[in-house]
């Protein structure tokens, strides 16, 4: 009965969302305070209703209620509890429910913590947010109802795709959705500001925490997905330029641009229309991502729920929201005049460059992702756009961005001179080049990507540290350190995030350039050398897991004759899903990962064994963690918290 109640709660949530869209919007237009304040209880009750729905569905998965079709199709009694729960969003219907839950969560947060926003702006933000909920609740209720029952419940379920039964992937979608859907908040703020007809510094400051939060979650989500691909897919890659990965990467790039341009709006009251446009586009790319993942128009290893009809509906939502917002944007362009003047060489100019590079690089990803579709539909050419294109077309933008970053971050607002940063910067250039040459010498004859990555990484990391150090002012080191501690959190966040960017750039370059790979057929007991490592295949055993059968190899590995360690890569077979998976075994290290995979038995006895030495692999995700940590630190800045209540309520605009 709870299942039916949950379904009913979802329908009620739709009704509430409809009211949340209409009532506050009318109230704000007419200046009726009572109608405007309706938004807050509406947002709260929407959250309560959808939470109830979600909780019931989760419960159905936990107790394996196979009378619910979704549970039957995606769960099994023998599955570990963690994956019973993550199975809720490991499928199309459940993940859409998670999507609207997060949508309602963000709406409720805006209602609870936006109490000091001007009443009309708050009402309009919540109304726009409510309208997005309406679209997705309609989508769920009419095409993807998770609460469909089976008349005669089967005895057991069909299990979750074994590849998804993994801790990394259990938490990857929630973070990704927090990011995707978080961008709906910036969208709502942008549209509300356009309706309101004013975009000012205070707006820039209000929209920043939401952008920061969304970007931070998106960073974590993307990093988790990439880390999962690294250890689970069994060939040690971490990024495949797959359409679905690109779908999450485009909003990330745009959100990063928005993060920076909102600072310009806040501090300098300029770049307003551009910032509004970015806020609209960021969510547009989120919706595009949803379309790509769920429509199946673009073939992808991640293909999730390939259903053209659902795809059409998402495309419709995308068209209505993006088209509507852009039309509004065009109509209201006049209200977004910029005021702050700045010199050609200044922080503002540097941030303009940052935005251009990030936006155009997002466009590279976009055109590469949709080109196979366009080429086939318009020009009748069936072709593929794969990693070689993206590597060639995307990388230059990141290189330029990395080169410009330390210079830009050290410039002052308005009219910038590098001034006293000039000396240390020259030193930093020398250091970067010297370390790159060292890397070149150590890895003689290998790809030039490695040394280039070292130079860029050192340059960006050094630039971030130098930036913070310069902010501490002049004087003796002790005074500077004391001032350093008291710097606003925003400054620390900036430094940590930029540090992370440098670390990730280095990690990607190092792993790409200096990866060592060895594939061979090995007999049990046989011993051989890979790089500086001695590898022995000690044994291969059959092992029984909770819901799978495993062939587990035991490899004894030692570095330069040091203390040996044991790695146990597996091949698993999941009988319910009739699907094999590979579990790579990895010895993580700061300087390198040792990554081993066991393959099929060979005709002449023995097993195929693949050994990788992946230098600095963890730096890629370490950098991503630093980037999101930087976002988190920034988010705790006192100025942002105060900003939530910055503009006075008395500024109700004239009708």
């Amino acid at each position: 009965m709870f299942i039916e109640l949950a379904h009913f709660a979802l329908i009620l949530a739709l009704v509430v969302a409809l009211a949340q869209t209409v009532v506050p919007m009318v109230g704000a237009a007419r200046g009726w305070r009572g109608w405007m304040t309706f938004a807050e209880p509406a947002a709260t009750s929407q959250l309560i209703l959808i939470s109830f729905s979600f909780a019931v569905l989760t419960w159905a998965f936990v107790v394996s209620d196979f009378s619910v079709e979704l549970v039957y199709a995606n769960s099994h009694t023998a599955k570990p509890m963690l994956y019973k729960i993550s199975g809720v969003w490991g499928n199309h219907e459940g993940s859409m429910l998670l999507w609207v839950l997060i949508l309602a969560l963000f709406g409720a947060f805006a209602a609870w913590f936006g109490s000091n926003l001007p009443a009309t702006l708050r009402a309009r933000v919540l109304a726009v947010q409510g309208s997005i909920s309406v679209a997705f609740l309609v989508f769920i209720l009419f095409t993807s109802n998770p609460f469909v029952r089976i008349a005669v419940p089967p005895l057991n379920g069909r299990d979750l795709n074994p590849l998804l039964q993994d801790p990394g992937l259990a938490f990857h979608p929630p973070f990704l959705y927090l990011g995707y859907v978080g961008l709906s908040m910036t969208f709502s703020f942008a549209v509300a500001a356009l309706i309101e007809g004013r975009v000012d510094a205070a707006w820039g400051r209000w929209v920043r925490p939401w952008t920061l939060a969304a970007w931070m979650f998106l960073t974590v989500g993307i990093a988790l997905g990439s880390w999962w691909a690294y250890y689970e897919l069994g060939w040690g890659g971490f990024w495949f330029w797959d359409p679905v990965e690109n779908a999450s990467f485009m909003p990330w790039l745009i959100a990063a641009a928005l993060l920076h341009s909102a600072i310009v709006v806040e501090k300098r009251e300029t770049l307003k229309s551009w910032t509004i446009l970015l806020a609209i586009l960021a969510f547009g790319f989120s919706l595009l991502g949803a379309f790509i993942v769920r429509s199946g128009v673009l073939t992808s290893v991640h293909a999730f729920a390939n259903d053209p009809e659902r795809g059409m509906l998402i495309l419709l939502i995308l068209g209505v929201y993006l088209g509507g917002a852009l039309t509004l944007f065009a109509a209201r362009a006049g209200v977004m005049q910029s005021h702050g003047a700045f010199g050609t060489v200044s922080r503002e100019s540097a941030l303009v460059l940052n935005n251009i590079l990030l936006a155009v690089s997002a466009f590279v990803v976009f055109i590469g992702t949709i080109w196979p579709l366009v080429a086939e539909m318009v020009f009748g050419r069936t072709l593929s756009v794969g990693p070689p294109f993206f590597d060639a077309a995307f990388t230059p933008f990141m290189v330029l961005l990395a080169i410009a970053l330390p210079l830009g971050s050290l410039l002052a607002w308005k009219r910038g001179k590098l001034g006293r940063a000039k000396g240390p910067l020259v030193g930093l250039v020398v250091l970067s080049v010297a370390l790159a040459l060292l890397a070149y010498a150590v890895y003689a004859g290998r790809s030039m990507v490695g040394p280039a990555g070292v130079a860029l990484g050192v340059w960006v990391v050094g630039g971030a540290v130098l930036d913070l150090w310069m902010r501490a002012g002049r004087g003796p080191v002790g005074d500077r350190l004391r001032r350093l501690v008291r710097l606003p959190r925003g400054d620390w966040g900036k430094t940590v995030a930029h540090l992370g960017m440098g670390v990730t750039i280095f990690g990607i370059a190092a792993m790409t350039a200096w990866n060592v790979e060895d594939i061979r057929a090995v007999n049990i007991g046989e011993s051989y050398d890979v790089d500086n490592y001695n590898v022995t295949l000690t044994s291969v055993d059959a092992v029984k897991g909770p819901n799978y059968d495993s062939t587990m190899a035991v490899l004894t590995i030692s570095h330069n004759g040091g203390t040996p360690f044991i790695l146990t890569p597996e091949k698993r077979f999941y009988p319910v899903a009739q699907m094999p998976t590979t579990e790579a075994a990895i010895q993580n290290g700061i300087l390198r990962d040792v990554y081993v995979v066991i393959g099929d038995p060979q005709a002449n006895g023995g097993y195929a064994v693949r050994v990788y030495i992946k230098p600095f692999a963890n730096w890629i995700w370490g950098g991503a963690i630093l980037m999101s940590l930087g976002g988190l630190i920034s988010l705790t800045d006192r100025r942002l918290r105060i900003a939530v209540g910055a503009r006075k309520q008395s500024t109700v605009p004239a009708e």
Partner: protein, 147 residues
């Protein structure tokens, strides 16, 4: 369920791609073979190179391209040979002919355009102050921003 079935065929078994038995004895030739196979798409899988894919057809293609290399073909000839049989779909790096010019040149063009617009914006003579703000509002705004 349908999507499960779809995933089953999409996600080619993520085990081993290149098998030790396929590897050529000549390391230089093998290196070239790996390079080429990383740029070729598995025709039946979804967005995987034949180097990564475990599908039988990928294995055949890997063996086939190694045979061509042993026969003395250049890298380009091997690619052309496979494109002639499987279409340009197998190329992960699309060529630069015909309409693909748009794909390759759209972003550089856009970059130049964006830089030009950016330059114009930066050099623009600014309007002085926000006329929509009253004097008190501006003072209030400054107070907030300085806090």
């Amino acid at each position: 369920m349908k999507w499960l079935a779809v995933i089953l065929c999409l996600w080619a078994v993520p085990a081993f791609a290149v098998d030790p038995s396929e590897v050529l004895d000549d390391p230089v030739l093998e290196e070239r073979a790996r390079d080429i196979s990383q740029g070729l798409r598995c025709p039946v899988c979804q967005n995987e190179s034949i180097d990564e894919s475990n599908a039988p057809i990928s294995r055949e293609l890997r063996v086939l391209l190694r045979e061509r290399l042993l026969a003395g073909d250049t890298d380009a000839e091997v690619r052309d040979y496979l494109v002639a049989r499987f279409g340009e779909f197998v190329l992960l790096e699309p060529d630069r002919s015909g309409v693909n010019v748009i794909l390759w040149w759209a972003a550089p063009t856009l970059l130049l355009l964006a830089l030009a617009i950016g330059w114009a914006v930066i050099r623009r003579k600014p309007t002085d102050r926000d006329p929509s703000l009253t004097e008190e509002e501006r003072a209030e705004l400054n107070r907030i921003l300085d806090s």
